[in-house]
Assembly symmetry: D3
Homo-oligomer: 286 residues x 6
């Protein structure tokens, strides 16, 4: 008998690295999460629960198996070592970019995005950032720490500068964060209005797309560390994701802040799985 | 003292069988469920949690106690014996039909519907099927098995033939299932649009109505084996159910795929209870 | 070293009593709850989970720290002693009113409202009541008991009389409760339509505002004893709350029926926290 | 077809009342529970989960189907009406005793025992009480209330007097409760030592046996309102129960304080089911 | 960059098949489970939670990485197809045996053992069976079905005959099962007494060792479908497992009946992980 | 009316700081936890659930209200900032020591102990350490990090040197950790044997006592990040704790690694509460 090792992938994404156009990987890190940890379990959960999902999308009439995606598993990150983790993500993300492939990182808390954007901004000086989230994430420091889920967009602003960050769905933050946004980013409160205009404004410039799933209303997505009522519906998010994927010149992306264990029904993980499937199909088959 | 045995019914549905116009019963079976089992607990859960619901419907200004419904308890089915279970349901469902009563079966996984439709199709050769679901359920076989929750509508198609199956809310399936539907059934993707037209088309023909509750969005109904985001709201479903019950000549029906333990809040069971109450009132008092 | 005691408050509401314009307190009592108990845990839960919420509201562009609110902790109530509990709440609520402050009570089951309304009605003979709820709560007795979560609005009607109670969102009750409402209260079934008219009708008269959070759809708020599908969305509720707080002459209020343990995701508690934050900001900063 | 109503019993205990030697019934009441409610769900849970248990006991080589036991279902008690509930239990328990049958009541919180003991003490003036528990339950009042789970043994002492109460397993109480016990009851701290001596001392006098399952260590029985570490093992309890049932002249008994929802594994309910099975077999077949 | 696929193994058991002395694999099947399903999730759970365990055993002063074990992943079994599943396991188990390796199967429900024993008995006509369990599993049929978790030892008896089956820890069954055991097997009630004698009696004959983890007390192992109080402790089981592994000529084995989701603490999965680790070390390094 | 702020303490420990002999405080930090986070919730949980516990200990016949203990609440620590957190704990612990009081810290993960021992070792150069745990915690680094829950005893060894650390209950670690222990510490595998000898050996030297609650068997204490089967019982731990508190010259202590949310029954939190109560009574009233 010949037995092969037990390979676990998201929804059959088992392309060889060399042949892959897209590379999905997990960044299981949640050490700076201040309220409720647990996003470290996200990437394993979406792999496991992707068994409940079909590979075919009736929304796009296309199949993820045609998207040329490899699931490369999870990075082994050191909990408690915040600086080291961001650097490790930056290096890995950069390597995939250097190989001409499109990386899709599964968080983890939102801070993991910093490593990825550092890699992308290094490669693409014109980089714009599209940011879906419930929270501004624009603090300068959190309890004295510069690296935190609550400061990640502020750090990214330092990398890309004014006018390059487009934020949607924001409904939580300190007053000074909203004021910072008024001067330095394009921020849409509460919903996804203005997305078409933002995409027009961005044009052909390279885009990093960071999707914090807590933009969704907690009724749809309770499995997250800091549920913030008043968010968008699943269909609103799906349409926006397809719009971004269809129009923007995406060079890097991530989907983050699923904390699967807070939702024992598995509905939140199912939402994450479906969003990731649609994003991979949209980016990998266009 | 005189003490009577401890009778447990759904929401006071304690008509004697002879006097009943409708008969509710449970079919606790989930052996073919491929992802997450647990629908076997549905019928007991809705009986128990119906204590939290009133018998009166402000939607229909009518009371379930006037609907002439008997709750006959659960069938004792043999887990793992798929053929035997379908046959046992067929026999029981047929007996109720033969007595001129309207059966309402509480699943269980969706395969239980096959036994019921076999009984109904035998009695009503013109039988049409209205199918609310997130999934096509149109595979020919699943891992080699012909009897499965994933093949049940295909088996039903073999019984009733082309043009008799009307599917709504479908948002998951393999590509070839959607293609099969294009040729053989009427399939409405994602929502309940076109229901009025379908009811017109069916006219006075006898109808079996099978309601897979996962047509609902998982935000409303997370307590199911395979939550599929992007479904309808509770009010959309309720209106559609009342429309079907009001217009169609229903000769048999079922409500299935509640897996109550995945939703520890009980909200999913409350949804199922309310849908069943409204369906019984609509069918039993018209 | 100087160490101070460990003071726990809702979202930093740590005004001294003397300086406070508003006083928040908990009434952890659920002894008459007939279906599923657990609202006793609500006030502690919202204090604890308010750490996940910002003090600033982007909806009102205002901060709860400017609202002059003191969190006075919880009353120590005797479970099983229903009469005594209502009396104890009445006395405490009355003392706050006598000091010229606006009390906001966190239930507990809905019966706690009776103590508060007794105190308010004594002080304000013209008192009107705005009641958001899924349930009529208009029974005269429940299993023989006059004091019950299911009878609280009936008891309140005895205090304030016809035409003073305005009910919204109601979608559950016995037929005779809806009939009682037709004669004695203004009852809006299912939703919040007619709120503006009610506020006009009330005018400058003093208002007690009782908010049973199960007016929300269970998808938004599953963490409650008796989830009743078909309710309003979070944004619909938020807008209505701001409308009431903005227009009505509120002299007393409560937010009740959160049973946090039924929603392990914490989303329901987050909803309650946010509603309470917005209500305090709206009332305390206007 | 002939269909009978859906009768639910504990482990097949479906004797007719007239023929029964023992009568099991539930007293779902937990309104005075001060810490965590939920014992109201116990009787339904043990009925439902008794499906996982065999009717035959390899410990006693006997079968519950030979014990002549009827499961009479649950009393409908009014939550919040403490006096009324105790009176209702007393009347029902008394009626069963008057019919010459042995009642076994499933709590509910421990206060339900008071109603049963009142009935038994009225009939048997020589009544002794064997009390297994983690807690003394000997307060005179709790927050001013005379009727409480924390005062039930004190109330019982008022009925039966000094020297008639034998307490085992006690490991929690105020200092004054232990001092009260020294003068008025026989109290064994921590374990079941001295049980044989107590049984000898009681001799042929009639005995009420009240078994608070929290005598068990929380590792064995976490599903209770107030888990108190340091209790006995399952086998220690089982042996003690069989000893009591074998030697004492039991005229009434109860098993209480299962709060099944705190133990999602179902192990606590399984423990309760097995203890109740063994008790019924021991009493019903001797 | 070179990226390898994402291989998931139990506790680093990543030997190549050709080099392996032992082969671990999962048989995720629970279709005949009559009470509470969920053992299908066991093999994935122990792989995932083995991250919390060290590879080194202080009990045996040895490391699993020296045991020459390959984790071959899970069989893809068809839920609802009972016959086919048993046949598929038989074929796979037989292939590993034919390659001269020792298979360790992770259930799944206990019925999966039948496939493995069929393969082993075919190869080793002198096969004896050591059976640790809470339940006899000796019914001839269950609701008419010959293939069931409740009949698996009876089917195995038909394969190996009288005097070859040694059962330990048994504390649940119908009376006729215990009577069958008296004539045909060696059955030790309640505990592990007599194990040394059984091992002596078996001597050098080939042994299949089937370990149903519900032999453990539910306090130790609540995560199983049918918790049966009164079982052995973890240390008693561990010592017995090491005794069997040290003395018996084991040619095949399995560990079954973990249903991880019933124990949200993960303690049951940790118990299973540790038992499997110790068994692999004991068998693979001796 | 005069209303005081809402002070929350563990079991009524509300001494003023100046008058207190002991100071309890929480160190909610779990950023380096590699497997399952959640110990950050421990201190709040034991405060809240201490309502289910009496202040009087029947084991010691003494009351915690006589122990002169102040609950100072929780430190506000920065998740993700490992160095800063340890330093902050060191400073705070040192301040309490400097005021001549005995600090009892509630973790958090085990790394928090390092800050406390640094403070104690600075003050008491002869410091010995008694360490109860399932894990050696003797790695030099974990994924490159020197500061980790897995390295804390190694760091402590660097502070106090050979022969000063006494470890009990250890049943998990890499081989090299056990070898390190052989040379540098006194390590008792699996249980608490040898404790009396260790206490004799330590004599009057100052002792820091660090109690990782996962020394307990997971049946008793499942609510922890890394449950390790094979631990001690509650009574074994309680006796050992009282022995240590009675004999050793304790100058500092902590109780850590409760992760309350993994045990929804609350039994683990009850265990922690009771251990902390007994420790405070033993130290504060001797």
């Amino acid at each position: 008998m010949k037995l092969k090792p037990n390979v676990e992938t998201f929804l059959g994404c088992d392309c060889a690295y060399e042949a892959a156009r897209m590379v999905l990987f997990g960044a299981p890190f949640d050490s700076t999460t201040s309220f409720r940890p647990g996003t470290r379990f996200a990437s394993k959960a979406i792999r496991q629960d992707s068994w409940g999902l079909e590979t075919y999308s009736p929304y796009q009439d296309a199949d993820i198996l045609d998207a040329g995606c490899m699931d490369a598993g999870d990075l082994e990150l050191c909990f408690g070592d915040t600086e080291g983790t961001v650097a490790q993500i930056q290096a890995f993300y950069g390597d995939i970019l250097a190989d001409g492939k499109l990386p899709l990182m599964i968080g983890g808390e939102h801070l993991v995005t910093l490593g990825a954007v550092r890699a992308a901004a290094e490669r693409y000086p014109e980089l714009c950032v599209i940011h879906f989230d419930a929270h501004t994430d624009l603090r300068d420091a959190y309890l004295g720490a510069k690296l935190s889920h609550a400061t990640v967009l502020r750090r990214i602003h330092e990398l890309v500068g004014d006018g390059r960050i487009f934020q949607f769905g924001i409904r939580s933050g300190e007053k000074f964060e909203f004021e910072f946004a008024k001067e330095h980013t394009t921020l849409q409160k509460f919903n996804l209005d203005g997305l078409a205009e933002a995409l027009d404004c961005i044009g052909e410039r390279p885009v990093y797309f960071t999707l914090d799933l807590d933009i969704l209303d907690p009724s749809v997505f309770p499995g997250t560390g800091t549920p913030e009522p008043g968010g968008v519906t699943f269909m609103e998010l799906l349409e926006a994701v397809l719009q971004v994927a269809g129009k923007a010149n995406i060079v890097g992306c991530d989907v983050n802040e699923l904390a699967p264990n807070y939702d024992p029904s598995g509905a939140s993980t199912a939402v994450a799985c479906k969003v990731v499937r649609e994003l991979i199909i949209a980016l990998g088959t266009k």
